[in-house]
Amino acid sequence: MSFTNRPMSIPRYRHGSRVPGWDDAVDLTKPPATVPDPATTEVPEELRATVEAAMAKYPDKRSAAIPALHAAQSMHGWCSPEAIDQVAAVMEVTPAYLEAVATFYDMLETEPRPIHDDVYVCTNISCSILGADELFAAMLQAAEGDATIHVSSFECLGACDLAPMASVNGEYIGPLDPSDAPRIVEQLRAGQAVLPDKNLRVRPCQDPNSHPEGHNGDAPSSESH
């Protein structure tokens, strides 16, 4: 199976129409719905085990599509045709089915990337009110030219109390300032924990009534305002 020569991003005119010839690379002679042959598709043992374990958790094996693609992505860096073929061979579904799933979800990458660190900068309402656009621009600039750090703007990550914030490989940090961007990149490159003092894990609940008497919930977090 090879559909590696498909166009990765379709060129478009400014008004949105696709530039003629955009579909030239599609191989129309290829059967669209073939499950990859398990005998000829090499699947790394680790991936096979993860996918099979995920399939066993559900009454219907197809429910494992998202966890399986996640596992393949972390191994390949993105949902590459090879990654999708491998998952399809184990799950016994067509690559087209998995590609349909992969293109739907924001966390599944359908553009070529090396294995990378993910930095999601929230640019939704609460964060943008408090300066998320500047933060995003600063993050892009700080990570410019480094393919192993993938900075993307994300819709509400569910941490508006940290606004403006970012998720670095799943760890929520905030409130951030554009000047934090170079340090985030530095710490990522050094393999260190990123801004541990701004991590969500150390933030107490803000409701003063949630704390037993004599303990003021505001005190530990006062520097975060």
Binding site: K57, S63, I125, I129, C160, C205, N209
Partner: protein, 442 residues
Amino acid sequence: MPKLLLFDNIDEPGLATLPVYERRGGYQSLRKSLSMSREDVLQQLLDSGIRGRGGAGFPTGRKISFLPKGDMQKYLVCNADESEPGTFKDRELMQKSPHMLVEGVIIAAYAGNISKAFIYIRGEYQVQADLVEQAIADATAAGYVGENILDSGVSISLVLHRGAGAYICGEETGLLDSLEGKRGNPRLKPPFPALEGLYDGPTLINNVETLATVPHIIRMSGAEYAKLGTEGSTGTKLVSISGDVARPGNYEVELGIPSREIIYGLAGGPPSGLPVKFWFPGGSSAPVLTGDDLEIPYDFDSMAKAGSMLGSGAIIIADESRRVLDTAFKLAKFYAHESCGKCVPCREGTNWTQKMLQRIYTGEATPMDLDLMASVQEQIIGNCLCVLGDAMAMPIGSMVEKFRPELEAEIEAARAANEAAPLEDVVPMGVADELAGPLPVH
């Protein structure tokens, strides 16, 4: 000091672990439930009057009673795909007290005679998912989940499922499709999930906060719980407050307290000292209210009467220094990005609303565009399978209605600025494309 239910000493070290949760009386409600009949447990939930905390506010007990009786395979799905902009209450609950959720899921499953339960958590909540996963494993090892729970003969399995980043999967039928391993497209209703949901079986879908409240209702009895809050909105509610406030965060309040008390009393109001210009009372899908509406009691019915909604209980505040246009544009862009594309009014309506707002920035818009925008919103509402389109149409419609003079002034100002630099940013459709060359798709 009011006594809290969900947030009572939530920062206690180790609360996410089983021994500390048990020491605080954890899983006693499960024991109590298993000693009662399923009907009695359901009756407690009906008596409590609790309404769903996810956004729609449907009475939880009634929802369970809609499930068909009998021994067919039924499912419970906990909706932990908390993606409504401004909402982050479930995140704090799952991170700090995951066992409370697990206990609630098992009790609700018992009440509905359900043997398979799932928690669908959004993919971005990786830290929280790991904690819930650990909690499920520990609870299973201790006999609170799985086969023959506490030697009662009742078996309920619980599986954590991680999403991968799609707002629409918070819509209950989109969530079910996603959990089945498909694209998260909402389904046509009816059939409602209570009759035909996950894997075509009867399915109960509830929000994290709703289920986490269940152990407290069983502990204190439904009648006792119903004494909290107001008649139509019983109990306490977690409120996520963010934007222009001094102390953004989650607060647990009794339903029915004045909104001002939350915004100024608990969260400290705008740090700039400026008055509140507009605010979302229930996530970004709720029609905006203005600074004149701060006295409205914070409960389901009062918010509906004021023309907005309590939604997920997420308050976003913008003070006088903020432009309505900026928030409207972010909002439209968000919904255009998250529309699954299944229904035309939503797919096209969100996209064109975003483009119309963009035109205001570039100085191409006229005040007539506001009428057009308002009419587009009207044509989205009620015309789609799910309410994602409505969720954009309602707040945008309310912004055009309440802030029309400001938006008209924005249009005039941008037009004036645009004439000073004629047509530099404004490329007529199709004319300059060859010159500009093809743009890469975003």
